[in-house]
């Protein structure tokens, strides 16, 4: 893991919800900072105690995480709505034009849920931070999605909405009589009539207003998307997939790896988080013998069941390793007894991430793969 952190200036942490992505992103940032790099961690929705540990606040901008002895770690909570708003103000360069978009009721409803807008604004912020040149490494914690691959599709999905042609069709044309007037191609004309029939003229009026505003910034959105894409496919950028050990997640990891490869991105590591409890790292035969000696029969039974269960999951992990190519490190992390929500916890997690990396492979418990 250290090598990956040393050799890149952008790390993108991806993974579906609930795998501990934000915590891993913060721990990776901490490891790199301890190694002497100037690091910025960009996160979207940190859990409260993690935010507290890093000193993060909504709208607080970049903050310095006090590390004591060595390293510089900065962190920022991305705020999609204000970044998008700032972006619109910047590219319209005209308060009146900006207001036309920002005051639109549909925009206000869509701004936070607009598909891809969180991802798009994350990438905007990432580009800014990288181009600003103030950091050696920027770690991006991607917005939560049901599936890891959604992150990759999102900017393009947003760009397609802001496509100039869409805005031309859906915006009103000053030379013609409203959205559905004029010499539009017959197919689209008919489709838009149906849209009005289904949604009503009130909806169409808001939609028209929205696209009138959007038309002016469509080009900028496309350009920004393209620049972000170039940054992500560049040699300085590595993707890390955070996952867990169940069958569904392993299939998802496979889908994600394919999606990455198809789009020309580099998957540098898969981090299998909370793979097993901490006690499972000890010698399991010794635990069994100790319980037997103490006549702890019921505990012994529990241990047998748990041990068998986590061993089977260990084999699922072996399948995981096979699915990765040689260029991708697979790192397995134990579930810590205390959730790593404070700086101490992040340090511990960071150490685990490093030890796994140094061995180049995973330290399996003695009986993993057995019964």
């Amino acid at each position: 893991m250290r090598r990956i952190l040393d050799r890149h200036n952008v790390i993108v942490c991806t993974g579906s919800g609930g795998v501990g992505k934000t915590t891993i992103a913060a721990a990776l940032g901490l490891v790199a900072a301890r190694a002497g790099r100037k690091v910025l961690v960009l996160t979207v929705d940190p859990a409260r105690r993690l935010a507290a540990a890093l000193g993060l606040q909504q709208g607080g901008g970049v903050i310095d995480v006090p590390l004591g002895s060595s390293g510089t770690l900065h962190a920022e909570m991305i705020q999609p709505d204000t970044i998008f708003e700032d972006y619109i103000r910047r590219v319209t360069a005209d308060e009146q034009k900006a207001r036309r978009i920002l005051d639109n009721k549909l925009y206000q409803q869509l701004a936070t849920t607009l598909s891809g807008s969180q991802e798009f604004t994350s990438l905007l912020r990432l580009s800014e931070a990288v181009n600003g040149g103030a950091y050696d490494l920027v770690v991006l914690d991607t917005p939560p999605t049901e599936h890891a691959a959604e992150f990759l599709e999102a900017p393009e999905r947003l760009a397609s909405l802001f496509d100039g042609r869409v805005a031309r069709w859906l915006g009103s044309n000053p030379d013609q009589s409203g959205v559905l007037g004029g010499l539009v191609r017959r197919g689209t004309h008919a489709a838009l009539s149906i849209l009005q029939l289904l949604t009503g003229k009130e909806f169409i009026a808001e939609l028209t207003g929205f696209f009138d505003g959007v038309r002016t910034i469509a080009g900028d959105i496309r350009e920004s998307s393209l620049a972000a894409h170039q940054l992500l496919t560049g040699a300085g950028t590595a993707f890390v997939l955070v996952s867990s050990l169940d069958a569904a997640k392993i299939l998802e990891a496979e889908d994600f790896r394919n999606a990455l490869r198809d789009s020309g991105y580099r998957l540098a590591a898969v981090i299998v988080n909370r793979a097993h409890p901490e006690w499972f790292r000890a010698d399991q035969d010794e635990i069994a013998a100790g319980l037997h000696m103490a006549d702890a029969d019921k505990l012994g039974e529990m241990h047998v069941a748990m041990r068998r269960y986590y061993s089977r999951r260990g084999r699922a992990h072996a399948a995981f390793s096979r699915l990765q190519g040689h260029k991708t490190a697979v790192v397995k992390i134990a579930e810590l007894d205390d959730e790593p929500t404070g700086l101490d916890g992040l340090e511990r997690l960071g150490r685990l991430l490093q030890t796994s990396g140094r061995r180049g492979n995973v330290a399996n418990p003695p009986d993993a793969g057995g019964n």
């Binding site: 549909l106 909405l161 949604t199 909806f203 702890a296 929500t341």
Partner: protein
């Protein structure tokens, strides 16, 4: 738009933080209801079926293995939208023509609120639309995890407030009526007895209450089994630490933490349903075993 007559199914939305076992719990709740004689439908969202993978079923399977009263469906946003549009246009061809138009496609693709409306519109359909009647007693929906679920839940109100008039305003108005009515629709939050899942569950509970006025039920999943206290004390008293004492100390620490988090959950739902962690890794066996642990909600 005449409303359907006669009894209509209860709708149960199951949500929670990602990774807490939401889908498995949703299936267990559905299986339990079906075993008790209620005609049940288990719904999952999305392009890929989780249950088919988990249960090793053939693609497109309609019935839960071994339980004829439990049907399975996967709702995909585009298909829901197509179905909805199809009911208001005279010909399916017209609906296809409309939805396949490039401009409309770009709009639908990027404006998720439309897709979310299509999903939640379908979920609440049996109570609102005559053509969407259902023969089920219960519909259990394995819905999205927290953030996405709230976007789904908030979509109808957001749109309704932005555009109260016209067909869109009317449809969203009736969706809201169903969501706010505990006789028609209820919410279940699945969580674990751990810090992050609990704090997210409590926030979600408050958000659902703010949005619908409903108190969601809480299911606390994967609780460590009851420990043999005498054996634990005996081991703890051992003079030297060993892997075995460390193992026992770990289980006890987990148990103490669990009790703390459960207490917090009980403050918002005093009947929080407690489900044990089962060390079973085969999907169907796990769901069946969990269903046996599930009381009626």
């Amino acid at each position: 738009m005449a409303k359907p007559e006669g009894p209509q199914p209860e709708i149960l939305f199951v949500t929670g933080k990602g990774g807490v076992g939401k889908s498995v719990v949703a299936a267990a709740l559905a299986l339990r209801a079906a075993a008790a004689g209620r005609k049940t439908l288990l719904v999952e969202f999305g392009r890929q079926s989780f249950y088919e993978r988990l249960l090793g079923l053939a693609p497109g399977s309609k019935t839960y293995p071994g339980q004829p009263d439990l049907q399975l469906e996967r709702w995909e946003e585009d298909a829901c939208l197509r179905e909805y549009v199809g009911h208001y246009l005279p010909l399916q061809r017209a609906a296809d023509f409309f939805l396949d138009n490039k401009i409309i496609r770009a709009l639908v693709r990027a404006a998720p609120t439309l897709k979310e409306l299509a999903l939640i519109g379908k979920a609440t359909g049996p109570h609102r639309l005559r053509w969407a009647r259902s023969d089920r007693d219960l519909i259990v929906i394995d819905a999205f995890s927290t953030g996405h679920f709230l976007a789904l839940l908030r979509a109808p109100r957001g749109i309704h407030e932005a555009i109260p008039a016209g067909p869109v305003g009317r449809q969203t108005g009736t969706i809201l009526e169903v969501l706010n009515d505990p006789r028609k629709c209820r919410f279940v939050i699945v969580t674990l007895a751990q810090e992050l899942p609990v704090s997210e569950a409590l926030e979600l509970h408050a958000a659902i209450a703010a949005e619908t006025g409903q108190a969601a039920r809480i299911v606390c999943n994967r609780l460590q089994p009851q420990l043999p206290e005498a054996e634990i004390s005996h081991l703890a008293a051992a003079p030297e630490s060993s892997p075995a004492t460390a193992f026992a100390a770990h289980l006890r620490a987990v148990q103490i933490q669990q009790m703390q988090w459960l207490k917090k959950l009980r403050r918002v739902d005093k009947n929080t349903l407690q489900l044990p962690q089962l060390f079973i890794d085969k999907g169907d066996a796990l769901i069946a075993a969990l269903a046996r642990e599930t009381g009626p909600l």
